[in-house]
C-alpha cells in the first residue's frame, strides 16, 4: 500500500509540479484562475435557471427526484466522456510509461499511479457542474443540514464509477483491438471529437433561447415519459441511489441507499483494480514499437527532388502541425472552432436581438458599406488573433531549435517559413469566414473580395506579431507539447497587441465623418495595413537579430 501511495505521489508531482515553470507561466495560471471566476458564475446562473424551471413543474407532482436523476445521469455521461481522452493519454501515450514498466510494480499499482492525475482533474468538472447543481437543488428544495452532508459525500464518490468503468472499457479495447499501433491517429481523432462535441453542445444549447424555458420544456417531457426515465435511472444504479438518498435524506431509506452507493462504489473500485491487474500491461507493453508503412520504392524515388529552402521549410512546418496530434488539435482544430461557432450562433439563434441571419441582413441593408467592412475586419482580427499557429511557431521546436543554428540557412528564411505556415493555417479561418459572409450573411461579393484582400494583410500582420512575441518569450524547455499552449500569457498578449493596433484604426475610421463609402475607407484601410506590414517586417528583423541565436541558451 505504501509503495502504491509513493508511486501516486511521484506521478502527481511530475504532472502538477511548478518546478521549471517560468514566472510568466505562473502568472498565466493565476490569470486563468481569475478568468474562471466569472465563468463559473455564468454556469451557476444557467443551471439555476434550468433546475429552478424544472423544480417548479415537477415539485407539485412530487417528481422532483428526476431532476437529481437527470443530473447524475448527465454527470455519468460527462465524466465518462471527459475521461476517455485523459485515460488514453495518461495510461498509454505518456512518454514516461516505459520508465515505470521496468520497476517492480504490479500492473494495478502502475494503473493506480497513472489514474491519479486524470482522476483529480475530473474533480474540476465535478466542482464546476455537479457541485453547483447539488447546491442549487438544495436551495430550491430547502434541504436541511443532512441534505448538504449527504450531497458532499455523494459529490465525492460520483466521479469514481464512471471513471473506473471508462478505464476498464478502454483497457479492454486496447488489449484486444491493439489500437496503439495508430496512436497518432487516435489522438487526432480525439481532437476532432472534442471539436464536434463543442459545436454539438452549442447547437443543443441554442435550440432554445432561454434556460428557464429549456427547463420547463424538459420538465414537460419528464411528466409524459416518467416510465422511460425510471427505466433509464435503473440502467444507472449509482444515479438512482444518489437521487433517492438525496430526496429523502431524513429517512432511513435515504441512509440505506447512501450506504448501498458506497458499497457499490467500493465494489466497482475492486473490480477496477482486478481489471487493471489483468488487462493494463497487455495493452501497454510493446507500445513504443510503432507501426511500419508499406515499402514502395517508386514512392520513395518520387519524393527525392530538389526544392527551394523556403518551400521545404514551410512544408516541414505544415507536416509537423498536421502530424503531431497536440499541434493538430491546438492549432488546426482551434482555427475552426471560433468561425464555426459563429455560424452556429447565426443559424440557431432564432431571435431575441442576438446575431441572427435575418437580423444581420436587415442591419447590413441599412448601413454604409464602410461599417460592414470595418465590422468584418474587426471580427477577422479577433478570429485570427486567437489562433495559436503563430504564437507557438518558435516554441514548437523545443530542444530541436539548435538544428537551425548549424545548418547553412539564413535565420530570416527559417522565420519567413514560419510566418508563411501560420499564414496558411489562418487561411482556413478566412475561408470559413468567407463562407459565413457569402452563404449566411449574404454580404455582397465586392465587399467580400475587398475584405479578403484586407484580410490577407491582416493575416500577415497577426502572424508576424505572434512570431515576434514567441521569439521574445518562447517556451523551449517543454517535455510535453501541451505545455506550449497551457498557462502562457503570450496568447493574451498577442490578442491585446492586435486589438490595440487594429482597434484604434477601426475606431478612428468608424468615427471619422470625412472618410465614408466603401472605396475611400477600403483604400485608407489598405494603406494603413500596408504600413503596419512594413513596420512589422522591421520589428521581426530586429527580433531575429536579437533572439535567434540565443534562444536555446
Amino acid at each position: 500500500m505504501n509503495k502504491t501511495w509513493n508511486l501516486i505521489r511521484v506521478m502527481l508531482k511530475m504532472q502538477f509540479s511548478m518546478a521549471g515553470k517560468s514566472s510568466g507561466e505562473k502568472i498565466g495560471y493565476f490569470f486563468l484562475f481569475i478568468f474562471i471566476i466569472p465563468f463559473s458564475f455564468l454556469i451557476y446562473f444557467a443551471m439555476d435557471g434550468i433546475i429552478g424551471g424544472l423544480y417548479e413543474v415537477l415539485e407539485p407532482l412530487d417528481n422532483q427526484s428526476f431532476i437529481l436523476g437527470a443530473l447524475f445521469i448527465s454527470m455519468f455521461g460527462l465524466f465518462s466522456f471527459v475521461s476517455i481522452g485523459s485515460i488514453i493519454s495518461s495510461f498509454y501515450f505518456a512518454e514516461d510509461i516505459e520508465a515505470f514498466i521496468s520497476l517492480p510494480y504490479h500492473p494495478y499499482q502502475l494503473m493506480l499511479g497513472k489514474s491519479a492525475a486524470p482522476f483529480i482533474t475530473l474533480y474540476i468538472t465535478n466542482a464546476a457542474v455537479l457541485g453547483p447543481g447539488l447546491l442549487i437543488y438544495g436551495f430550491h428544495s430547502n434541504g436541511g443540514i443532512l441534505y448538504f452532508i449527504y450531497a458532499l459525500l455523494i459529490w465525492l464518490v460520483t466521479p469514481l464509477i464512471p471513471f473506473a468503468l471508462t478505464a476498464i472499457i478502454i483497457m479492454y479495447l486496447m488489449r484486444f483491438l491493439n489500437l496503439s499501433k495508430n496512436k497518432d491517429r487516435i489522438k487526432i481523432f480525439a481532437g476532432l471529437l472534442m471539436f464536434i462535441f463543442i459545436i454539438g453542445f452549442n447547437i443543443v444549447l441554442r435550440l432554445d433561447t432561454g434556460s428557464n424555458q429549456l427547463g420547463e420544456n424538459i420538465g414537460e417531457l419528464f411528466i409524459e415519459r416518467n416510465a422511460l426515465l425510471e427505466m433509464i435511472t435503473v440502467l444507472f444504479p449509482s444515479a438512482y441511489l444518489s437521487s433517492i438518498s438525496l430526496t429523502q435524506p431524513d429517512s432511513f431509506l435515504g441512509f440505506i441507499y447512501l450506504l448501498i452507493l458506497f458499497a457499490l462504489s467500493t465494489l466497482v473500485f475492486f473490480f477496477y483494480l482486478t481489471a487493471g491487474q489483468k488487462l493494463y500491461f497487455k495493452g501497454v507493453l510493446g507500445l513504443s514499437a510503432g507501426s511500419k508503412n508499406k515499402w514502395n520504392e517508386k514512392k520513395i524515388a518520387k519524393q527525392i527532388k530538389q526544392n527551394s529552402i523556403l518551400y521545404i521549410s514551410w512544408l516541414r512546418e505544415m507536416k509537423i502541425m498536421l502530424r503531431n496530434p497536440t499541434f493538430f488539435t491546438q492549432i488546426v482544430v482551434q482555427s475552426l472552432v471560433f468561425p464555426v461557432l459563429f455560424i452556429v450562433i447565426i443559424m440557431f439563434d432564432s431571435g431575441g436581438g442576438g446575431f441572427s441571419a435575418a437580423g444581420l441582413n436587415n442591419m447590413l441593408a441599412r448601413t454604409d458599406p464602410k461599417f460592414t467592412i470595418l465590422a468584418m475586419l474587426g471580427f477577422t482580427v479577433f478570429a485570427l488573433g486567437i489562433n495559436p499557429a503563430s504564437i507557438s511557431s518558435v516554441s514548437r521546436e523545443g530542444k530541436s531549435w539548435f538544428n537551425h543554428l548549424y545548418m547553412p540557412v539564413k535565420p530570416e528564411t527559417i522565420i519567413l517559413s514560419k510566418v508563411l505556415a501560420a499564414f496558411t493555417i489562418n487561411l482556413i479561418t478566412l475561408v470559413v469566414i468567407s463562407i459565413i459572409a457569402v452563404g449566411f450573411a449574404h454580404i455582397s461579393i465586392s465587399i467580400v473580395v475587398i475584405w479578403l484582400i484586407l484580410s490577407m494583410l491582416t493575416n500577415w500582420i497577426t502572424s508576424v506579431i505572434g512570431i515576434s512575441l514567441d521569439l521574445y518569450m518562447p517556451n523551449m524547455k517543454w517535455t510535453d507539447e501541451r505545455e506550449i499552449f497551457k498557462g502562457r500569457m503570450i496568447g493574451l498578449l498577442a490578442l491585446a497587441a492586435e486589438v490595440v493596433i487594429f482597434g484604434l484604426v477601426i475606431l478612428v475610421l468608424w468615427k471619422s465623418s470625412f472618410i465614408t463609402g466603401l472605396w475611400p475607407s477600403s483604400v485608407t484601410l489598405f494603406l494603413l495595413l500596408l504600413m503596419f506590414t512594413i513596420s512589422g517586417h522591421f520589428l521581426l528583423k530586429k527580433m531575429i537579430q536579437h533572439r535567434f541565436f540565443t534562444l536555446h541558451i
Partner: protein, 240 residues
Amino acid sequence: MIDIQNISKQFPGTTAVRDLSLQVNDGQIFGFLGPNGAGKSTTIKMITGILPIDKGFITINGSDITKNPLEAKQKIGYVPDRSDVFLRLKGIEYLNYIADVYKVPTEVRKDKIEYFTKKFGIYGALNDHILTYSHGMRQKVVICGVLLHDPDVWILDEPLTGLDPKSSYILKEMMREHADKGKTVFFSTHVLEVVEQLCDEVAIINNGHIEFLGNMTDMKREFKDDESLEKVFLELTQNE
C-alpha cells in the same frame, strides 16, 4: 581544416571553455576527449555556430563561423549527440530536407541516399516516420544526411553511441576514407579504444582547457610507454 584561436565561453557563474586553441589539419581524424562537463560539447557547439563565441575566433577552411556563418556551415557536416529530432518526418522526407538545405542536386542525392541508407541498412525504413525508429536507426539516418553533401569538415558528437557493431565498423571506415580523401574529421567520444584505433591526433580537455594535445606517439613519449590511454586519461582529468 579547423582553426580554433583562443576561444572562451562563459555561462552565468561558470567558465565552460577558457582560452582554447586548436588546429585540425586536412586529412586528419581528430579525437576530442574529456570527462562529462569538461567543455567538449560547448566547444563543438561553438565550432558549428550553435553557440556564440565570447572571445577568440574559429575558421572552417578559411571561413569564419561568426563573420561568414553560412559559408562556414556549408562546409560542415555535423552529427549532433541528440538524434531525436525531426521525429514527425519520414526518413526520406528528412534526407530530402537536408539535401535541400545543403543544395544537393536531385540526381546526386538520389544515388547518395540509396547508397548510404543501403550501406547502413535503413533503406527499407525510409518511408516510415523517424518516430518509429530505434535510437541506432535515428543515429544512422542523421549520419546519412550529413554525408549527402560530402562536407569538407565532418564534426561528430559521440557518433558511436547506440550503433550496432556492424554500423559502428562502417562508420569508422567512412571516417578513415573521408580523412584519406584529404578532408577533416573531428569527433568527440568516451570510447578510448576507438581513439587509439582511429585517431591521428588527440586532445584531452578538462575544466574548459586543453590538458593534452598531440598524436599517439607524442602521448607515448610524454607518458610511460606501457601506460594505456585509459590511464593517461584518468591521470590527466582527475580533479584536485
